[in-house]
Symmetry: C2
Subunit: 153 residues, 2 copies
DNA sequence: AATGGAAATGGTATTCATTTTCATATAGTG
DNA sequence: CACTATATGAAAATGAATACCATTTCCATT
């Protein structure tokens, strides 16, 4: 596997200690253009020969999530999928249900809306989850255009 | 348990067959002002003496979800929580992480945003999940105002 | 370089929501 | 009433995520 910008980001992640395992998870994560599950990460590190325990993978991801270095979505089964957060600010994604490819979307409008709603309701520490899924143009033309069930949410 | 408007909505739910069990689940659901889990529903119907199998509860909920008669959120553990959808249109909620109470929020802005994003990206059948959590005014004054971890998403 | 204690690791066992299976019961029609 | 597609539900399976805990490793200090 090739390394793109591991050094920069690895240095930008002031977690607890610098261990071989955390490095491995980060390394793999940095080379994943799309969302991956904990299990996939575990398999990938193993394939790399670095071998990180499943427990540690979960722990590292939770750590990263708490520090806001990854974005998290859930697939249709409820499984958590992780992706390195490109910049300081968090992002929201539009994920294709057919091929799984995702693209970040411009969500300033939503961020503003969230602040407004929270304030209006008198809530503190408001957090939000926003997920978009659909069928991308490529998959629509490839596949028989069946929406599986067709019920738009 | 008292029944509020079971008749109206029960008639408004053109599922497959009209069975005692589906009626029971609906009945309980209609009397739940806040989100409940499948397990809770199962317990409630049992407490009512109506006794609906857990399998059937799950099946009924999936049915209701497919027909858009319930809104669904996930708690922090990933567990699904259901709530009868007040009107035809789906709603989004602001849920208190401390007491669990929820209130629907005005989300037209988000609905419009979703349409825009989906169209711009050339995606079909775009679905969305929007969840807001926070600490309500009541819980803030009651509890030691600790944000648990304090990291706003 | 040696040390010591706190932090991190990871194999295994466990939890627990949700799904599958499949034998039985029932709604609804004629 | 008989008949059949449909629904039910107990039990078993699934699988992500967590708990446990003995062992290892980082790293500030001597
Ligand atoms: Zn696609
Ligand atoms: Zn956001
Ligand atoms: Zn509250
Ligand atoms: Zn919506």
């Amino acid at each position: 596997m090739s390394c793109r910008n591991a050094e920069q980001l690895a240095r930008a992640l002031p977690a607890g200690r610098r261990t071989r395992q955390r490095g491995a998870v980060l390394h793999v994560l940095l080379d994943c253009p799309d969302f991956v599950s904990a299990q996939q990460l575990h398999a990938l590190t193993t394939a790399d020969g670095i071998g990180v325990g499943l427990t540690t993978v979960y722990r590292t991801l939770r750590e990263l999530e708490a520090r806001g270095r990854v974005d998290v979505v859930r697939d249709d089964v409820g499984e958590r999928l992780y992706r390195i957060r490109p910049f300081g600010r968090h992002r929201h994604y539009l994920v294709c249900r057919a091929c799984g490819r995702s693209r970040p979307v411009e969500a300033d409008a939503v961020e503003a809306w969230v602040d407004l709603i929270g304030e209006a309701a008198g809530f503190d520490a408001v957090e939000h989850t926003v997920e978009l899924t659909g069928i991308c143009a490529t998959c629509r033309t490839d596949a028989p255009a069946v929406a599986d069930d067709g019920e738009p949410l």
